[in-house]
Symmetry: C2
Subunit: 379 residues, 2 copies
């Protein structure tokens, strides 16, 4: 049986967890939380990082920091995970869903401007499969219309964008705020987990308060105020040191993990670039984007072909899975959606299939997946 | 140095974490999550339990389930942790703060009725130090005025209330909903962590949806629907299997931990029941309440005496700490508060001090704490 995903343990996770417990501090914002945050700040150009219990929570923090409130509109791709929209819905926003690109499941940057109104407060690009959206286009719209950009970088750790200025910037370091995920399906993991990155320093102080239940506890422990209390809204967004210690063991091996994943991805790409008896498209990576080997997917011709492909793989003990369903057609949002058709989004909902992708996937297993897929699945 | 708190490791935590990783599933709602939830459901009479990333998150789920919205009022004690109020503030509620009892820091049950208006939606009693509020009084008000009761049972694991009917019920099993904490300072821990208990089955199905980002994923995996999607509001409230595996090791030792904590508490109580040269009150436990030995506190005569006591303990390498500050006087809420004086709450804010209390606290250390406190601290 080849699973779709298999969490990878570096071996140090439980050692660091025991160390955290022995230090007498396993609630949030301790030694390992700081180590993780400092690593990301030092290596990826994020101005300030705060670990969270999930990427959803990081997006909620971003929505609060942008002061999103009822009456505001937020532009979000419809082909994304529920949380991208939900975090802003919880603040009362109306979601204006954008279609995907023809060549990539990410947001179609060229239609964003047509969706901007006087009520628009933020744009939330999602770097699908860790492949960059065209951030120059998005940031220039944000400048022009005075909007916030929140990067949903859930899948985008260690991935980059090279803009017109020729500078290669880490995804998550470009928007005003960004959110990462360390869910077990991601490149580095802590089971559930996430991170908010703050690139616009206007948000830094307030982010720390919102993170710790609306209290100025962090300032208190730095000796900046002489007692701490309730000063703002917020929630308990911070993860335990158990979670952070686990993540630290993964971070230490990030480059090792990335090298392996990239080799797996390249192997897939090379095999699938050969002619087959099936029609499907391979992942497209624009020149401005890097590939962090988060995911290997195919885009089938239609829903029937995809269903047959998934079933054929399953018959061969290989688990491949489809991905998002158009959020604008969801039970929760369809009546609130403005009625625009989003055909590309619907196409990826019907036709995209993700192949097994994890650190321990062997060359033989990749070959097996290829052998099953290369032969016809649909008459 | 005697710390105020020291997390206790049973020794099985990292073994279960490794087991979770080896099973290939460390995101939420896996084997250990279910084991923990089933334990609490079987042993404490909670109808349905859902682990959460924090008690704050469990309270937020309760606020969403009660459909709390702008215009609603929620009655909350002012002497409590920020989250008790904040979770309802996030849904737009106005908080109506209640004073504490004269004999106990918990909510004064006898004034609750005077605070109920046509806008009141819920009452949120906090079982301070794990000692029950008078739930008969509170539940009969809820019946009379058709209100929801959300028990903030953050400190109240394995503690009980015996009502007029003579039945001994677990705290957290009496209100419509209740929230527990497994923060490192609690009797059993997972670093950060919490649990929502649902006693009114009308909430069960929706709770599961809200817990998993507003999706009907749980129903899908039980085969009750043939695909899952976005059907409601919610967030990522569920903890990882890493967190749940840690908690399971604690739960297995719950009775062992409780026996030890109760012995520590009794030792404190016996020592401090002797005459001293200082005036302070000891914890009061009403006949209807059990004692889960979560906390040992003293109530000093005034702020000066408490400050001197804390300082004297500190000079002797003993860490004792004060607790909450009146939320109705917080920077965030004072202008929104209706202006009522809450003198008992202010008194506990000024006068209550918590002594070191943790599993590994020795008899000798307890004796040392007593020796420092028995002699005068204030002229």
């Amino acid at each position: 049986m080849i699973p779709f995903n298999k969490p990878y343990l570096t071996g140090k996770e439980t050692i660091y967890i025991e160390d955290a417990v022995k230090s007498g501090k396993i609630s949030g914002n301790g030694k390992y939380t700081k180590k993780c945050q400092e690593y990301f700040e030092s290596n990826y150009g994020f101005k300030k990082c705060l670990l969270t219990t999930s990427c959803t929570d990081a997006l909620e923090m971003a929505a609060i920091l942008c002061n999103v409130e009822p009456g505001d509109e937020v532009i979000v791709p419809s082909y994304t995970f529920v949380s991208t929209a939900l975090a802003f819905v919880r603040q009362g926003a109306k979601i204006v869903f954008a279609d995907s690109r023809k060549d990539h499941p990410g947001i179609d940057e060229d239609i964003i401007e047509t969706l901007i109104t006087s009520k628009t407060k933020a744009i939330v690009p999602v770097h699908y499969a860790g492949v960059a959206c065209d951030m120059d286009k998005i940031m220039s719209l944000a400048d022009k219309y005075n909007l916030f950009v929140v990067e949903d970088a859930a899948q985008a750790i260690d991935s980059f964008y090279t803009g017109a200025d020729g500078v290669k910037r880490a995804l998550g370091s470009i928007g005003h705020l960004s959110a990462f995920s360390f869910h077990e399906t991601k490149n580095i993991i802590s089971g559930e987990g996430g991170m908010l990155c703050i690139n616009d320093e206007r948000f830094s102080k307030r982010a720390e308060i919102i993170w710790e239940k609306g209290t100025n506890r962090a300032e208190f422990f730095r000796g900046e105020v002489n007692k701490y209390g309730w000063v703002d809204t917020g929630s308990s967004f911070l993860p335990s040191e158990v979670t952070a210690a686990f993540l630290w063991a993964q971070i230490e091996n990030l480059q090792f993990i990335q090298a392996k994943r990239k080799a797996i991805w390249e192997k897939y790409y090379k095999l699938f670039s050969q002619p087959t008896e099936n029609d499907f498209s391979l992942p497209f990576i624009p020149d401005y984007a890097s590939n962090n080997a988060h995911m290997f997917y195919l885009v089938c011709e239609n829903l029937q072909q995809r269903t047959e492909l998934i079933n054929k793989l399953k018959d061969n003990d290989i688990l491949a899975v489809f991905h998002y369903l158009s959020l604008h057609k969801s039970e929760f949002y369809q009546a609130k959606h403005d009625g625009r058709e989003l055909p590309e989004c619907d196409r990826y909902s019907d036709c995209l299939v993700r192949l097994p992708m994890f650190f321990e996937l062997t060359d033989e297993e990749i070959q097996m997946v290829w052998e099953v897929i290369r032969t016809p699945v649909s008459k």
